[in-house]
Symmetry: none
Subunit: 173 residues, 6 copies
């Protein structure tokens, strides 16, 4: 368990399958993400049952409120020890918790963990340019907009730009 001010991060359990499937099936939640093909509950369950332990290169943690309600997921992926960089993914699947600071605290908690325990030097993420709510959260914890990849996202037949943001180890706020 990795504990922040408003959230705690815990390992994924197979019993999270139904929750994850519900989030993946919710178009509002998936709006700015690379939506998978409609997922089956059975395959979501199987995937969780078969996944190996979290590791330096692939860390996925469920976001819980401090009283134990599971509200989202955060990941650090593709960490490379020689460069000390990793990619961050985050979303809150429970829409009634949006806009209350949970994502901000989850971001701070996982980044502190990445720089502290994992000795990362840099964490980066991408966000669809229109997704301003997310970008504000990322900026609040210190992420700097480093570029704009033109037409690198597609939703409903239209292209969107993605911004790339980065956070160095002494920039976390």
């Amino acid at each position: 368990m990795v504990t922040g001010d408003r959230v705690q991060l815990r390992a994924i359990e197979p019993s999270d399958a139904e929750t994850l499937w519900r989030w993946h099936s919710d178009p509002e939640v998936m709006r700015w993400m690379d939506a998978p093909y409609p997922p089956s509950l059975a395959l979501t369950r199987k995937r969780l049952e078969e996944r190996g332990p979290d590791s330096y290169g692939n860390l996925n943690l469920m976001i819980e409120t401090l009283d134990g309600r599971t509200i989202g997921i955060v990941a650090l992926r593709e960490a490379e020890p020689e460069i000390g960089d990793a990619k961050l993914d985050i979303y809150l699947g429970e829409k009634d918790t949006w806009g209350q600071g949970y994502a901000t605290d989850a971001m701070r908690t996982i980044c502190r963990y990445g720089f502290g325990k994992m000795r990362l030097h840099r964490i980066s993420l991408t966000a669809v340019a229109e997704n301003e709510a997310a970008r504000r959260v990322y900026e609040k914890v210190g992420f700097v907009e480093e570029g704009r990849m033109r037409e690198a996202f597609r939703r409903d037949g239209k292209w969107h730009d993605k911004v790339i943001m980065g956070l160095l180890e002494d920039e976390l706020r």
Copy 2:
């Protein structure tokens, strides 16, 4: 979940086995399709339990009415990214829902999804020439009859022609 006006499309679950087996066992439903050998329920179940996730090249979705009744199945198969074409299959297994616009809406929904999310350029299908009800549905959403393959279908010892129909990405109605 992919949502249309009258139907929604969702992933296949192992719990659909009994429904699919019932449809496959119904000669009226299978009348104009390449009927499989009589299926066992156990093998239908096993096949669903072992199938992998849907993907660019093999997408199969159950058709539900908006209130969640499972009534049919639709598929986009053999998509090739270099050409951007795929083959469409569809049928409604629940006979009491025939002729009420569900198939038309499921066609529109999957085609919109194929052109939008998957960047397809062309969707094609074949239909037994005598199956005029189906052909009317396909034409309603914009499919154009492109040819007639002579004696390419066989049922009860007799040959039938099949029509081939195509829909380009700007032709969906």
Copy 3:
């Protein structure tokens, strides 16, 4: 060995790898075909070494002149015994043999074999619409144009139509 008037058809040998690789690397030969990514000779060799025996559903034969020069390849694919149909592919890789009746005789030979030995009822093929030389060959042996699939082929960034042609078992000339 299946023998015609001007050509004979024989099984593929691993020693054909260099020849096939040379044909696959020749843009003139591949002009109207779904060109693979540039093939390596090593993988071509490996693929031939590992391929299983020819069968009802997948028959590939090298075309030789009667004096044993290997000049092309012909295939019957996806044969389904219940319908008795299969798909034909053919090309001559040695460009100096084009236009001398070898392809026509190879077509007649393989179709006679398909209807005779394999009890096929129908053989079909597709051709890029602009490829008029090929279409004339197919018509000469009896294939009938059955339809035109719009924009189903792509070469150098442009779409082309494909014609679909069919031959029933009593139509071979």
Copy 4:
């Protein structure tokens, strides 16, 4: 074989092992790349012997001058058909060919191939910011600098920025 004005692109062969190993062992060639641990010739050979065919998602081609001298390698990786984007990697291993326009032509040739045959919409690449010679080549063929990832590269104990560049399908010059 994919042919440009000054270079041609061909599949990798196991016999390229010694050449690739020599390039990977040359610090000048690897200067701005994520250098692997010192490679053995034996493992380079084994890796080439075991690699599968090139495909939509992983395409690697050797760069040859028009008279058949192998001088470099170019790759399109991680192509996703739904978004139509891919990542480009290129380098010339033969240092006496630097600065003569071969890289520029190889870039144009692979991009034309990616947009044409593969229906890509966007090609992106990253370059270490100090590597100005490479960036000039990329700009010459139309790549636009879209961002600067701070301290995302490490060489000899020092961090360097990387620029990210993108090219949309109508921007190739």
Copy 5:
């Protein structure tokens, strides 16, 4: 069962999964250990179900009070028969049992077992330098501080030294 004065040591059972997972999730328990990424209960269970029998080179035993309450774990790892040395790991996961002599007795019991049954000549362990409570326990049973590895432990972004301690076969008290 290996029995001491205040504890007994027994094999790990799959039914210990929930207990181990609870200990691993407790930051106070893991404070001076190389903490794993937050573990899932499901993977802890799977790991226990799949582990093989204990052996000369890898011995892990649960520590129980004499009335059968499971309170910790002790291990002898990497035993090499030619040198007769092994590494010891121990912790008590039930915090209400700390400071009551259980760890001291478990240490004595496993070392006696190692020297007696396993013919070890030397047992060594490492401890974070700040962890004085643990070091006192180790000294009490005879371990001698042999060195101090500078900055060989990292917690919360800070480096800590580790002491290395050794016990020879005639030094156990």
Copy 6:
């Protein structure tokens, strides 16, 4: 190739089998090392042919003089990215090269590589206490004696102490 002032480090090749086997068979060379059971040349060869590529956690390089004579081997093992430490092993198998500064330069070269490319924080090694020639080399490049593991080495029926030495990333000389 990693280049120092007097040596260069390169990947191991299967063709090194005979050399390694000769070194492993030389009691003078193996005097202060954990000597393996008498090795067969055939198994040495097989082991080299089957080993995978070097990686962050297991890096083994042959030491060559600058004119290409293979004289020894150096390794960084068990690197852990969260702590940034690794273990170093080194020996020169060609006895006529002893005492001429090759080992010192190989140590400096691999440590610079470990701190620079691999972002290590700490490198440690152990040496049999009597092996004063080796210890002088390690101290010359900056290693600090951190402890003495009593009776942790055995040769010819007698116990010897081993010293443990550590080098932090700013201590390399």
